[in-house]
């Protein structure tokens, strides 16, 4: 409230403090794992070593970490794109015709609350190969995108629609030039949230089995061998990639939608 100064010097400071927080965390972790001497709480250095081993030699089956990352990212991407392709048009459609959404709510809404893992048995029977993974990720990413679009269309400022209408604009024109641009920031936010949840679902998707590559598969593999340090590598990589993708989305959001006064990050 009363802080108008040091807005310029804040940037570097924030970055520095983050680095500091990270080092303190690693230090604490090291100390705790030294004190506890537990087999299941490896030190950061063991984890780092596992990371390097996974990069150079690969896992027990000789599959490198890069391959795992690549496969998982590919699956996420496919599911996410499918969610966008289906969620955005459907959201705009159902936002423009609320009747459609209201009439199908009893089917659509409960599906939202069925956990992705629970779908696996059905997915294995009904789908095949890669589409199974895409489906599970899609399940996670679809709803934020769909609901975000739907609500945004519903809340388009009526004045903005009336302006072109008073000039005699066609329905299609209004949708193209008013509805879509004004919902775009919300759609983008929905996409970001959807991407986050998609990452959350990667473990669920990779429990499907039948493939030996993927970050989730790697974690499950090492869970069988009770190697916590390798599991941690998997977790950290998943967390870090998700974080960076999210940051990129936020960055783009801030750039593209400058006209929006404030962007809520959630």
């Amino acid at each position: 409230m009363a802080n108008d100064k040091n807005a310029g010097s804040g940037k570097l400071g924030t970055f520095g403090y983050n680095a500091l927080a990270l080092s303190i965390f690693i230090l604490l972790w090291t100390i705790v794992s030294w004190i506890s001497e537990s087999l299941f709480l490896p030190t950061p250095w063991t984890v780092l070593k596992s990371f390097l081993d996974l990069c150079t030699y690969g896992d027990v089956e000789g599959i490198s970490l890069g391959m795992h990352i690549f496969k998982s990212t590919l699956r996420i991407f496919a599911g996410f794109v499918a969610a966008c392709i289906l969620g955005i048009p459907l959201g705009i459609l159902m936002g423009l015709y609320p009747r459609v959404y209201d009439s199908t709510k009893s089917v659509i809404e409960p599906i939202r609350f069925i956990p992705p893992v629970a779908w696996i048995p059905l997915v294995i029977v009904l789908l095949v190969g890669f589409s199974r993974y895409a489906f599970i990720i899609w399940l996670g990413a679809f709803f934020p995108i769909f609901i975000g679009t739907l609500l945004s269309v519903r809340s388009v400022n009526p004045t903005h629609i009336d302006v072109p209408r008073s000039f005699g604009a066609k329905r299609l024109y209004i949708i193209r030039k008013i509805v879509i641009p004004s919902t775009l920031p919300d759609i983008f936010t929905g996409m970001r949230v959807g991407m986050g949840i998609g990452w959350d679902c990667i473990m669920a998707a990779e429990m499907i089995g039948g493939e030996n590559e993927g970050l989730g598969v790697m974690i499950l593999k090492y869970a069988e061998l009770i190697r916590i340090e390798d599991i941690m590598v998997g977790m950290i990589v998943i967390g870090a990639i998700g974080f960076f993708i999210n940051e990129i989305f936020i960055f783009v959001e801030r750039r593209v939608f400058k006209w929006k006064e404030a962007i809520v990050i959630s």
């Binding site: 924030t14 680095a19 927080a21 089917v107 599906i111 069925i114 956990p115 959350d200």
Partner: protein, 263 residues
């Protein structure tokens, strides 16, 4: 009024129609599949009746599975609230702390609860594992929505109290808290949905005989697909019902608000 009523009936009718369409579609797929790994709607109804009257192999009935899961979810969700709301409030009031530790806090959000399970098993014990796994999943929506709503409290309201000589505590209690409450409850609703969705993940932990997630996993192991679907529908229904209930309560409590969003 009558018009409104007719409208409601129509919407309900259309909902039933959609539901019927889904059932027909399901039956068609089942006949096309003709697989012991895909249950027909008839099997599912039988499975549901069995779960209600007799129970599963161990004799645990559906409500018992539900109850155990609900207890786990409630505990995890309560833990998420207990940490998330004060934490969000604190970091919202001192945004610098959040900005400076982001790199630690944020990546955790993207690690799925299932990935935590092996560590939760070896490092924690008993019931606390369920709390932890559900907490990990449901903490962030509530934390982030609290944090951001604190940042967005209209400065005028704070100034009104400040000019009148209010203490910091008064401002937090009487200005900040009421004004973030809608977002906090909204965050809690999303959290509750997510924690309920995590129940299958949490119950992968094992060692327990009951739980709705357990029912799904166990039935999948012995190819009782009808029970898998019964479990899925139960979870979906309970999640949907709680969500609608909280929306209803929200609309009641926050009469002063112009509109409550449905998401």
């Amino acid at each position: 009024m009558t018009n409104n009523y007719a409208e409601k009936m129509k919407t309900m009718g259309l909902n039933f129609f959609t539901l019927a369409m889904v059932l027909v579609l399901w039956t068609l797929i089942a006949y096309w599949q003709k697989s012991p790994f895909f249950a027909t709607p008839y099997d599912i109804v039988l499975g549901f009746v069995q779960m209600v009257t007799v129970g599963d192999v161990e004799g645990y009935r559906l409500w018992s599975h539900m109850l155990h899961s609900l207890v786990r979810v409630s505990a995890g969700f309560a833990a998420a609230c207990l940490v998330g709301i004060p934490g969000g409030l604190l970091l919202g009031l001192y945004p610098k702390i959040y900005d400076r530790t982001r790199i630690l806090v944020e990546p955790i959000r993207f690690i799925s609860p299932i990935a935590w399970i092996p560590m939760a098993i070896v490092l924690l014990v008993g019931f606390s594992r369920y709390i932890f796994v559900i907490w990990v999943a449901s903490f962030f929506p509530i934390f982030v929505s609290t944090l951001w709503s604190v940042r967005q409290v209209n400065a005028v309201y704070v100034n009104v109290a400040r000019v009148a000589g209010a203490s910091r505590l008064f401002i937090i209690r009487k200005i900040i808290f009421p004004s973030i409450l809608p977002s906090v409850i909204g965050g809690m609703r999303i959290s509750l949905g997510i924690s309920w969705m995590c129940i299958v993940a949490a119950e992968m932990i094992g060692g327990q005989m009951v739980g709705i997630g357990r029912l799904i996993l166990k039935s999948a192991m012995v190819t009782r697909m009808d029970l898998v679907v019964v479990g899925m529908i139960s979870i979906g229904f309970v999640g949907y019902a709680t969500n609608e209930l909280i929306i209803f309560i929200e609309k009641r409590i926050f009469r002063w608000r112009a509109a409550v969003s449905i998401e």
